[in-house]
Amino acid sequence: MANLRPLLRRSEFDLAHDSLRDLNLYLHKQAAQDGVSQIEVKNPDGAHSIACGLDADLDVQIHGHVGYYVAGMNKHASVTVHGNAGPGAAENMMSGRVHIRGFASTAAGASAHGGLLIIDGDASLRCGISLKGADIVVGGSVGSFSAFMAQAGRIVICGDAEDALGDSLYEAVIYVRGKVRSLGADARFEPMTDADRTALKALLAQSGLAHDPAEFRRVASAKSLYHWHADADQEY
């Protein structure tokens, strides 16, 4: 329920004692007004929806593991999780930066429209599903069906990819450094261009990674599913 108690100026929340509602309400309604730009969150203990719906230039540092939808629908803010994240980290992010220092569960960055999501470890199934313009950099490997129906944006995978990478892609581009177990329907490997290498170098640098862009391959849409036609392979 909405908490209508007056909120005191805070730069630290301990979820062992403070409620999630108090934290999010403060981040939404009062932090920027109070001139607080950095907020520490302790003992998240796997709670869901921490720091979701932010709409201000805040720096939120979460010390521990988080549940579903951390930094969901983020705008402007920078959110760092010093731990692992549950499903839907930074889902539908519009702008800003979300950094998962550990591993991320399913659907990381789902339908994100903008901003940068960095995952230092591995990401599970459906990473970048329905991506709409954000950038995702995964330091480790990704699970099956990553970038499923991704429409725009870029996904950098420094490790391996499981099955059906880039299934039903639209205009999003994937850069993958390791092995790909299989590509999804309508996804194909394409030659890396100078523009790809330049963009990739910048994304790696933003994410604090030193890999050589020459080690990556590009995956994009063959665009054969863009229009219905009678001879299309119906097995996809």
Binding site: C52, Y69, K132, Q151, Y170, Y226, A230
Partner: protein
Amino acid sequence: MTGPQLEESVGFDRSTIEYIQRAAATGLYEIRGLGAKRRVPNFDDLLFLAASLSRYPLEGYRERCATKTVLGTRFATRPIELAIPITVAGMSFGALSARVKDALGRAATEVGTSTTTGDGGMTAEERASSKTLIYQCLPSRYGFDPDDVRRADAIEIVIGQGAKPGGGGMLLGQKVNPRVARMRTLPEGVDQRSASRHPDWTGPDDLVIKIKELREITDWEKPIYVKVGATRVFNDVKLAVHAGADVIVVDGMQGGTAATQTVFIEHVGIPTLAALRQAVDALDDLNMRGTVQLVISGGIRSGADVAKALAMGADAVAIGQGVLMALGCNSDTYVAGGQHVSAVEDYARLGTAPGFCHHCHTGKCPVGVTTQDAALELRLDPAVGAKRLRNYFKTVNMELTTIARACGKQDVHHLEKEDLVALTVEAAAMAGVPLAGTSWIPGQPA
């Protein structure tokens, strides 16, 4: 001399032969708009038992009959308050033009009800014209924007649609113009296939958490609706209640669509009548009637339909196809410069005629309703459309209150199942009301 032998087969009639031969020629299934055309048990199969010696009617034009409807009272701190229990169903910008969305908002605002976005995001026009706007969160998440979440009056998580439960949306390339493409982050002209599953959650346990996220983002202010296409309604409604929905929208198989496979429209899902009864049973089973509100949609046309839906236990209805028809869908004319202009030749060019058209998917709507074509969309003046829709809703509401008064109700929400009987055994079984002239409800002990 004997005439030609013209004995048509029941199993392979002319339309079936045409279907097989078209499939053989093209290798493609048919895609079309609007809803199921086959006959299924529906609200026409119910009748009201109005006041008599054992019931006391209200004066038709004098005594007050309230229509106020409040939705979203369970958890939201700002429930939706409507003047009438008749709302505009979710229809996308993309399926409809921005001018049509504007007209829907104007009319809904004038009569004190809500309108709903669709697959493709919220347009500035509809937000500006709609006093109460429900923002859909669909599997595709096309144009889904937290700013619009904050601008909306309620959020509707769409699990499925009555015309195609289990299927994703479709918008063929001819309707993906530059603005639609930009809003959906798609290439112009692409045949767009929406996802059928939400990208970031997969089942009822996840839905609990998704709803909680939306509540956190909106600071628990806005009602959260959950919309399901009518299939396993009893279970789905219970799961939606457990997931924390404030309002549940159940869309029966007669519900419309802008473009879907015909086989889907005609063969998947259950009739609205059966769906409504199952939904009410589920709420009753959980003792949640009145706590979680129920909106029913799928082929609602008239005040009689609304009255029957409310009597069966719905709190409100949502109308889609009827709204489009009020604007001029399937009319033989459109209005330009204050004059009616014939659109019959344009229907003929699509291979159809007024009264039969379901060609929303082509984007060549002869009356400018389901189009993104710059010239065709001008055939619907938002002011004219809004006036027609206001008149339609006003008529439907007057019919509703007429029936309610005749049944002796001072509030349309006082209509009850006891006021209804069924004309057919099928409708009696589906609706759970007695066959007319008997006390027999099929499937229930005497």
